[in-house]
């Protein structure tokens, strides 16, 4: 799908939280074996916005994020109950091809994880496995430019992606993800291992990228959530009867509401730093 084909009315529009959601969950339960890791999540991810997932460790925000592109399929005991819809199509319906899902919904990880290949090969990897027929050189330049990395690496595209600094590696990973031209980019604590300057660059990048992509970011950094996101979902964790920790969605709303005027007391406590 070409990002330019999508309706433009929601781009940057402040009321877009109520526009047609790209992703929507209804009573989604996530299990590892018989253990209910995340319970009863019902929320929607708005188009061309940045949605932030915040919450204390173990609240299941990363687990939920990984459901969105079926990356949890790699874990054998993992299963979901309830609905997780992508444009109204249940992602976990039997006939849905997980590989196809991941081509539309990309992922950037906590630790920068470029392949031990050249910068060029890193960027074109997704295109190659997806049988992209276009001009790879152009794709590399476009993706690296979008990821704000082109100027820094244009003279050394043949050198190893691992030779870059941590922040550059992470932008390379973002370039690699958007080179596939997904509709949604999932980011799992993308700045957790980066210095403040690199973090700032990636946050600026997110503002740029949301023009074209829907972004979901998991972050432990509440300032980051308030800086980059339009919508914030707060997750919390509670002990089950058996003493295990089970995550749940407390509330989600416009970011300014979550940070300034949350409905739930636990949200207020968390965003003001009183726990978590």
């Amino acid at each position: 799908m070409n990002p330019q084909d999508r309706p433009s009315h929601s781009v940057g529009s402040p009321k877009a939280a109520s526009a047609t959601p790209v992703l929507e969950t209804r009573n989604l339960n996530i299990y590892y074996g018989s253990f209910l890791a995340v319970r009863e999540v019902s929320m929607s991810i708005p188009n061309n916005q940045v949605t932030a997932f915040i919450g204390p460790s173990g609240c299941g925000k990363s687990t939920l994020l990984r459901c969105f592109n079926r990356l949890n399929d790699l874990i054998e005991t993992f299963r979901v109950e309830g609905d997780l819809n992508y444009h109204g199509q249940n992602l976990y319906a039997p006939k849905v091809d997980a590989v196809d899902v991941r081509r539309r919904i990309g992922m950037v990880f906590q630790k920068p994880n470029p392949f031990p290949k050249s910068i060029y090969e890193n960027v074109v990897y997704g295109a190659r496995v997806n049988g992209y027929k276009g001009d790879l050189d152009e794709l590399v330049e476009r993706s690296l430019t979008q990821a704000a990395l082109w100027d820094e690496v244009k003279d050394k595209l043949k050198t190893s992606g691992l030779a870059l600094s941590g922040g550059q590696q992470q932008r390379l990973c973002i370039a690699r993800t958007i080179a596939v031209q997904p509709e949604v980019v999932l980011m799992d604590e993308p700045c957790a291992s980066l210095d403040p300057i690199s973090t700032l660059k990636i946050e600026e990048l997110m503002h740029e990228l949301k023009q074209q992509y829907t972004i979901v970011i998991v972050t432990h950094n509440m300032q980051q959530a308030s800086r980059v996101s339009d919508v914030t979902a707060f997750f919390n964790v509670r002990l089950t009867d058996t003493g295990k920790r089970s995550g749940y969605l407390v509330e989600h709303d416009r970011t300014e509401n979550i940070f300034q005027n949350p409905k739930e007391e636990s949200t207020q406590e968390y965003v003001s730093g009183r726990f978590g």
Partner: protein
């Protein structure tokens, strides 16, 4: 010189600790140098003992097909050829199988318990004594391969590799037994290097919409390449040096025959067969042959390092 720390948690290191620390460093250094010294000593001894043969036959030893203790005329070409060919057969068969097993066992196609048992079984292959392999080869493998050899000869006899009537022992059974013997080396080391790859690599590839197959071929195997090449080279060293099983299966014919169905000989097998009755110049000739084997494995190892360097740019 000691630094006084005002807090009482730390105390200055005692002299004993310093000396222990230093002596440990020297001990490990000594051990590291000792292994190099042993290698050099062996190489030197082999060289000295082979000098009479080197002086008598020179480089021609490598190209001569004679091995005649009566006339005292020696040449190692058939054995060099046999060593390389039998090892090559073993690699051609064992690398795809071994890497395939390694991939399979490093992925989660099977429950962990089953995989653990399989890994153990493959490694157990390495524990079977060489002579047992030889015995099994004579009584089981050769009868099985004979039928296959006859079929090859009858249908593809025009092809040089299958151009002789199979006689039982020969290059092919030796190569196949070597395949089985080096399989655990290739499998175990390749599997270890695949299993030690960071899980993030796999996730990144899967997350970009690659299938599992694409992830294995395009990311995991290239990332584990140096480990796999290391495994292959170790296996090649073993294949070239393997003695007992090969001696029992290769037929010990000191001739160069292109056909894989014909008997041949390897350097290691030659040494094992002849050292007991050898004396004088024959001992020197055997040492010379041993020296060549030494050099061959050395070249193989250097070549492996070059391959790794070439690929390991990233």
């Amino acid at each position: 010189m000691t630094v006084r720390n005002p807090s009482s948690v730390t105390r200055p290191r005692s002299d004993t600790e310093r000396i222990l620390d230093q002596s440990f460093l020297w001990l490990t250094r000594l051990l590291a140098y000792a292994i190099a010294a042993v290698l050099l000593a062996i190489a030197f001894q082999v060289l000295v003992q082979s000098l009479p043969a080197i002086q008598r036959f020179g480089v021609g030893f490598i190209f001569s097909q004679d091995w005649d203790p009566v006339k005292e005329s020696y040449g190692a070409l058939p054995m060099i050829y046999g060593t390389l060919v039998s090892a090559l057969i073993a690699l051609l068969l064992a690398v795809p199988i071994g890497v395939g097993i390694a991939v399979f066992l490093s992925e989660n196609f099977l429950p962990l318990q089953v995989r653990t048992v399989l890994v153990f079984l493959v490694e157990l292959l390495a524990a079977i004594p060489s002579v047992v392999y030889g015995l099994w080869g004579i009584f089981v493998l050769i009868p099985i391969l004979r039928g296959f050899g006859v079929w090859l000869f009858e249908n593809f006899g025009w092809f040089p590799l299958f151009s002789t009537q199979p006689s039982g022992p020969g290059m092919l059974p030796a190569g196949v037994i070597l395949t089985i013997m080096i399989l655990p080396i290739i499998t175990a080391i390749s599997r270890d290097s695949l299993a030690s790859l960071p899980p993030e690599l796999r996730q990144a590839s899967i997350g970009l919409g690659a299938t599992r197959w694409e992830t294995i071929i395009r990311v995991l195997i290239p990332a584990a390449f140096s480990g796999i090449v290391g495994a292959v080279m170790l296996a090649l060293g073993r294949a070239m040096g393997e003695t007992m099983a090969v001696t029992m299966l290769i037929g010990n014919a000191n001739t160069v025959n292109v056909s894989l169905l014909a008997p041949g000989n390897t350097i290691a097998s030659l040494l094992a067969n002849q050292f007991a009755e050898a004396s004088g110049l024959q001992v020197a000739a055997l040492m010379y042959a041993g020296l060549i084997l030494f050099v061959l494995t050395f070249i193989v190892n250097i070549f492996a390092e070059l391959v790794i360097l070439k690929v390991k740019k990233f």
